[in-house]
């Protein structure tokens, strides 16, 4: 194994290095400097992100357990960007006195989940995939329970960890059945030895349930809202975009690479699940007053939209999933960013508290409006392009009924997104949130998101690039 081969794992290596640096740094940082450490860590991660962008070799490692390709590199870069935004947004929150001595923990846990996701994405074998998925989940539970003195945070943590262990149990049970019918857990082997036995299907569906848990698809989604609401805002954001995005990436890779043979089955499964996810997610989101919970259900519905890209099994499908994930990262992070800024400054999280926000904080309101429009798929912001192409990918293979259900659901979705806009712009409030100045990092985070929301849609070059790196069955 030469150094070149090793460089294939560049993302993982750099991340590990960053992890170690933070670990070591913690030891040598004095009590008083801990607060300043936030900045260092963010810059460090920015460097990690930048290094990720450099060109890298392709190939496989460890006898096929690890695969590195341009597609996976792209996916990792997208996740890097998202994580960077999350870190920037959590900057203020980390500055709180009760968090001050746990800044390192926060970074290390977050980086290790990201590492897990990378391994998951680059997996060539289900063992690698399993390790990745657990590495990505377990630290997250710790992060969800990060706010030690809050009941809700603890509740979020326990709900996440126990649900996830149930789901990984079922997922593994499914994998064991696939192993039983195929005899290997290498992706390539499973794809090469087609089996449509009932046991394979059974295994696949159990596996699907596990993935459904990660992507919070109905009916495996119930943990989502509670965890998002209880967890710190930045962790909820992380869960809703990075964790979900990574799950979507690996899910589509596995569907395309491992289970092309039973495409008929999984198309039907996805059809049913997509309809349920979008509909149930919307119906729940309709009623929510807590912004985090609201965004949680909205993100469930969005996960359903991702499935529309999966179902065709085409190159366009993968392109749009990656493209939409990128857009979704910017959009949802903008929304969460604002929720977190407001929660940070005023402690208010209810939609009713947002009444009349535009009169006092116009810029925040405008950003929120952009985010809401992007989530709802309104032009000219990026969400429109993303949704249009996702639906196109499903329509391409003739799933018009599914598209119809999805687009009708976007109307329901539009309704509740507009409720937020209405609260901010139209409703009048007796005691609105007063004007406040955001700090530099919050602004930076939002600025990146806004740029992303506005530019990603029009940037056809980006879409073309993603398309060149995508593949179909």
């Amino acid at each position: 194994m030469s150094l070149d081969n090793f460089l294939m794992m560049r993302h993982e290596l750099v991340l590990t290095l960053a992890f170690l640096i933070i670990l070591v740094a913690e030891v040598f940082t004095g009590e008083k400097k801990k607060e300043k450490f936030r900045g260092f860590a963010v810059v460090l991660f920015a460097v990690v992100t930048a290094i990720g962008m450099l060109p890298a070799p392709e190939g496989t490692l460890f006898g096929g357990m690890y695969q590195a390709g341009r597609t996976t590199t792209l996916m990792k870069n997208i996740l890097n960007i998202g994580t960077l935004i999350v870190l920037i947004q959590s900057f203020t929150w980390l500055g709180r006195p009760e968090n001050r001595d746990r800044i390192h923990e926060y970074f290390m846990l977050l980086i290790s989940t990201l590492l897990g996701m990378y391994f998951m994405i680059s997996a060539g074998h289900f063992l690698m995939f399993y390790i990745g998925i657990e590495l990505a989940t377990i630290p997250l539970a710790a992060l969800a329970a990060f706010e030690r003195y809050k009941n809700r945070s603890a509740e979020a943590g326990i709900k996440l960890i126990l649900s996830s262990s149930l789901s990984s149990g079922i997922l593994l049970y499914g994998l064991s059945m696939i192993y039983g019918t195929v005899g290997s857990l290498y992706f390539a082997d499973i794809a090469a030895r087609p089996s449509t036995a009932a046991l394979t299907i059974l295994g696949f569906i159990f596996f699907f349930s596990g993935m459904g848990f990660k992507m919070s698809l109905v009916p495996f989604h119930l943990w989502t809202a509670d965890v998002y609401e209880g967890a710190p805002v930045s962790i909820a954001a992380y869960l809703s975009v990075i964790s979900k995005g990574a799950a979507a990436f690996i899910f589509i890779i596995i569907l395309y690479n491992v289970f092309p043979v039973i495409i008929d089955t999984w198309q039907k499964v996805i059809w049913v699940i997509a309809v349920m996810t979008i509909t149930i997610g919307n119906l729940f989101a309709l009623r929510q007053k807590n912004m985090k919970r609201f965004l949680a259900f909205s993100s469930i519905a969005q996960a359903g939209f991702f499935l529309l890209g999966f179902i065709g099994g085409s190159k366009l499908g993968m392109t749009t999933v990656i493209y939409y994930a990128l857009i979704y990262i910017f959009t949802n992070l903008a929304a969460f960013g604002i929720v977190s800024i407001i929660a940070e400054k005023t402690g208010k999280e209810s939609m009713d508290d947002y009444d009349g926000l535009y009169r006092t904080n116009p810029k925040l309101s405008l950003t929120m409006m952009l985010a809401m429009f992007s989530l709802a798929g309104i032009p000219p912001v990026a969400g429109f392009f993303g949704k249009f192409f996702l639906f196109a990918a499903a329509a391409e293979k003739g799933f018009y009924v599914l598209v119809a259900i999805a687009v009708l659901n976007t109307i329901v979705a539009l309704y509740y997104y507009l409720l937020v806009v209405k609260a901010m712009f139209i409703n009048k409030s007796e005691n609105p949130i007063t004007y406040f100045k955001s700090d530099f990092m919050s602004k930076l985070g939002l600025a990146i998101c806004i740029a992303g929301i506005v530019v990603t849609g029009f940037a056809s070059g980006l879409f073309e690039m993603i398309r060149n790196l995508s593949y179909g069955i």
């Binding site: 289900f126 063992l127 399993y130 390790i131 657990e134 377990i138 630290p139 539970a141 710790a142 329970a145 030690r148 003195y149 809050k150 009941n151 809700r152 603890a154 509740e155 979020a156 943590g157 326990i158 709900k159 960890i161 126990l162 262990s165 149930l166 990984s168 149990g169 079922i170 593994l172 049970y173 994998l175 064991s176 059945m177 192993y179 039983g180 005899g183 290997s184 857990l185 809202a225 509670d226 609401e229 209880g230 009623r287």
Partner: protein, 105 residues
Amino acid sequence: MNSGIPLEYYLIVATIMFFIGVYGFLTRRNLITILMSTELILNSVNINFLAFNRFLFPGKLDGHFFGLFVIAVAASEAAVAIAIIINIYRRFTSINVENVNELKY
């Protein structure tokens, strides 16, 4: 090596264990017991892997390794879970799962 016990028996044991685990997860009220139930599920998976490996694909050791890793991961999972449960106990002064329902609807 073949001890005469056929594969099906292992699988049946595994399945029963799996569903006992699920049943425990769904019915026990103590968080620790729930955690234990998930361990049961994972162990049923391990039996499956080992049995398949041993009976059907004895040439390679995929299943065995998988079992080992599952055990390791389960341990770390349990560690984190118990840490959170301790915190729950501090906050709620109870580890009854029914009390942990501040977040709903």
